[in-house]
């Protein structure tokens, strides 16, 4: 057991710094801006780079700004948010993403730990399998879930014999969300566990602390920022889940119609409601980015120090 350590390259406690998300302080950013401006003054070489950066910024910002502007200019956001369809979608999204996040933590944490600490036959396969839902188109995921757990699916009759039906239920929403979103957490958690200095775990072990207690009182606290940012990313992906959900869970207000599905449905009947939900999701996404910076930021600084 003690030789487990050499299997894992000991890395500095730095889960991939996320360059887009977390410049540690504002000072270097200003400096680099000055440098860029000076460089542009000296040579035109940076102009095409800046131009493409500008175009990229427009591409990313335009839809977000358009939604917010449209809501601010035309609608009474609060009144629209009070509509039953909107409330139902909000509640359902909150409920299902909470459940899918719980399921993800429950199932994903052991897998991440397993991949980070142990070498076993099939490890590479499992490692690649984790990433499969990330690259798999959600519509394919939805169809696959239907073929597997639908009434006529591979396991459908067995489930039905147990009195369980997945399709068109809130449970189907949770399963679809977990399927597409869990890999984001598992990847981050695996990296976070890998980054934990195993010397700490070994010391705890020699002090007679059980493996279980070591995991909870040493490994998890040290890996926490990585775990939290992975959980946030996973939650965001679940919140935005659309393709797999509409295929396996259908769309019914209050039961399977989550916020993205409600936006899609409202587009042809109630554009105001669609915009209000979209604006809300924009706010949530921005808040999430802020949260991610908070979680990863200090860690990045600590690693740099």
């Amino acid at each position: 057991m003690a030789d487990r350590g050499h299997l894992v390259p000991s890395r500095p406690a730095r889960p991939r710094p996320a360059p887009a998300l977390a410049p540690p302080t504002s000072a270097p950013r200003n400096r680099s801006l000055v440098t860029i401006v000076r460089a542009v003054g000296r040579s035109g070489a940076l102009v095409p780079l800046l131009l493409s950066a500008g175009l990229f910024a427009v591409l990313v910002l335009a839809p977000v700004v358009a939604i917010v502007a449209r809501v601010l200019l035309t609608g009474d956001l609060l009144a629209v948010l009070g509509r039953p369809v909107v409330i139902a979608a909000l509640r359902l999204s909150l409920l299902t993403t909470t459940l899918s996040l719980g399921l993800t933590l429950l199932l994903g944490t052991p897998v991440a730990y397993l991949l980070a600490r142990y070498r076993f036959p099939g490890r590479t396969l499992l490692d690649s399998l984790i990433d499969l839902p990330i690259v798999l188109p959600p519509a394919v995921a939805g169809l696959g879930l239907l073929m597997a757990f639908g009434r006529r699916g591979l396991f459908g009759p067995a489930l039905e014999a147990l009195g369980l039906t997945l399709s068109f239920t809130t449970a189907a929403v949770v399963v679809a969300q977990t399927f597409v979103a869990a890999p984001f957490y598992v990847r981050a958690a695996r990296a976070a566990f890998l980054a934990v200095d195993q010397e700490l775990e070994r010391v705890a072990h020699t002090l007679g602390v059980s493996a279980w207690a070591t995991f909870w009182r040493v490994t998890v606290p040290v890996a926490l920022p990585g775990l939290v940012s992975g959980a946030l990313m996973s939650w965001a992906r679940a919140l935005g889940e659309f393709g797999a959900t509409i295929m396996v869970a259908g769309s019914f207000p209050g039961r399977t119609q989550t916020m993205p599905l409600a936006i899609y449905a409202a587009l042809e009947s109630d554009l105001e409601a669609a915009l209000a939900l979209a604006a809300l999701l924009v706010l949530v996404s921005l808040g999430l980015l802020g949260g991610l910076r908070r979680v990863t930021g200090p860690l990045g600084e600590r690693a740099d120090a």
Binding site: G250, F252, Q257, Y264, E268
Partner: protein
């Protein structure tokens, strides 16, 4: 995205036309009659239930009008109307109900008054082995049955609601019939073809759809259960040229083709009723204007 692709298509069509006029020997005097000037691409936004019939009509139109291509965007009429309102470019709009066409007209999207080109009958669709044991309309209210329908704005969703409301006036069904059926609805799908697909997959026990949706391709998966004669409800399909049509001549020619004998033959081959036909129990007077539906 549709706007972009439409813009791109328009651009390509423009280039194509420019090439054609540059290459083709100029005719003495381009006469204003449609038959000689019809060319290029026709973009048709059509109700999902028209998918099979319109694809065949599109091929026949291109065959009889060399130099034309027909591009379709099939979807719920309500969705297509919303896309058009948001600026999607198309030449022709064919809706599965009058309500969406009227809204398009009120939004100033139409270049001409719409014309009815087909009608359609509603049926109950059940999986081939009918696991829910649905024999009559009344069975749809049986607790535990899994029904799918379309979103409240989608024509088939509106027609279904109208049918249930009409049944509610019959004491044999009772005034709570729509509510009891509604309690069995497990999903409101984006369009009628998605509704049929869920029945074909066996995920739903039944759905009310158009008889034309039970295409030969689905014959081994889905079968119809007739609705009571007394409650027969006929769907009406209007078509119109759009005001912003990039290719109005070809669009008008396409509409004429749909209304003409060739188009009508194809439509009836796919199970549509002729436009002029008034079946025994057709709607008396204008459709009761549906309210905004249960969803709000």
């Amino acid at each position: 995205m549709i706007r972009w692709s439409a813009a791109l298509l328009a651009l390509l069509t423009g280039l194509l036309l420019a090439c054609r006029s540059a290459l083709a020997p100029p005719t003495a005097h381009p006469s204003p009659t449609p038959t000689t000037t019809v060319s290029g691409e026709v973009v048709v936004f059509a109700a999902a239930s028209l998918t099979d019939a319109f694809k065949e009509i599109g091929a026949a139109f291109s065959a009889t009008h060399p130099g034309t291509t027909v591009t379709f965007n099939f979807g719920a009429s309500s969705q297509l109307r919303a896309q058009l309102e948001q600026g999607a470019r198309a030449d022709v709009f064919a809706s599965a109900d009058q309500a969406q066409m009227e809204r398009a007209q009120q939004a100033g999207l139409l270049a001409e008054p719409p014309r009815v080109f087909a009608r359609n009958r509603l049926v109950i669709a059940v999986p081939r082995d009918n696991p829910g044991g649905v024999q009559t309309l009344r069975d749809l209210a049986r607790p535990g049955l899994r029904l799918v329908t379309a979103a409240p704005e989608v024509p088939i969703g509106v027609y279904t609601q109208q049918l249930l409301d009409r049944a509610a006036q019959d004491p044999a069904y009772g005034p709570d019939f729509p509510a009891r059926v509604g309690a069995n609805i497990v999903s409101r799908e984006p369009n009628v073809r998605q509704v049929v697909a869920k029945v074909a997959l066996g995920e739903a026990d039944a759905a009310i759809v158009y008889q034309t949706d039970l295409t030969p391709d689905l014959a081994d998966k889905v079968r119809p259960v007739a609705l009571p004669e007394a409650l027969t409800l006929i769907a009406t399909y209007p078509i119109a040229l759009l005001r912003q049509a990039p290719n109005p001549t070809a669009g008008a020619a396409f509409i004429a083709f749909v209304l003409g004998p060739d188009g009508q033959t194809i439509l009836q081959h796919w199970g549509f009723l002729p436009a002029g036909d008034t079946p025994t129990r057709a709607l008396r007077g204008p459709l009761p204007r549906p309210d905004r539906g249960p969803g709000g």
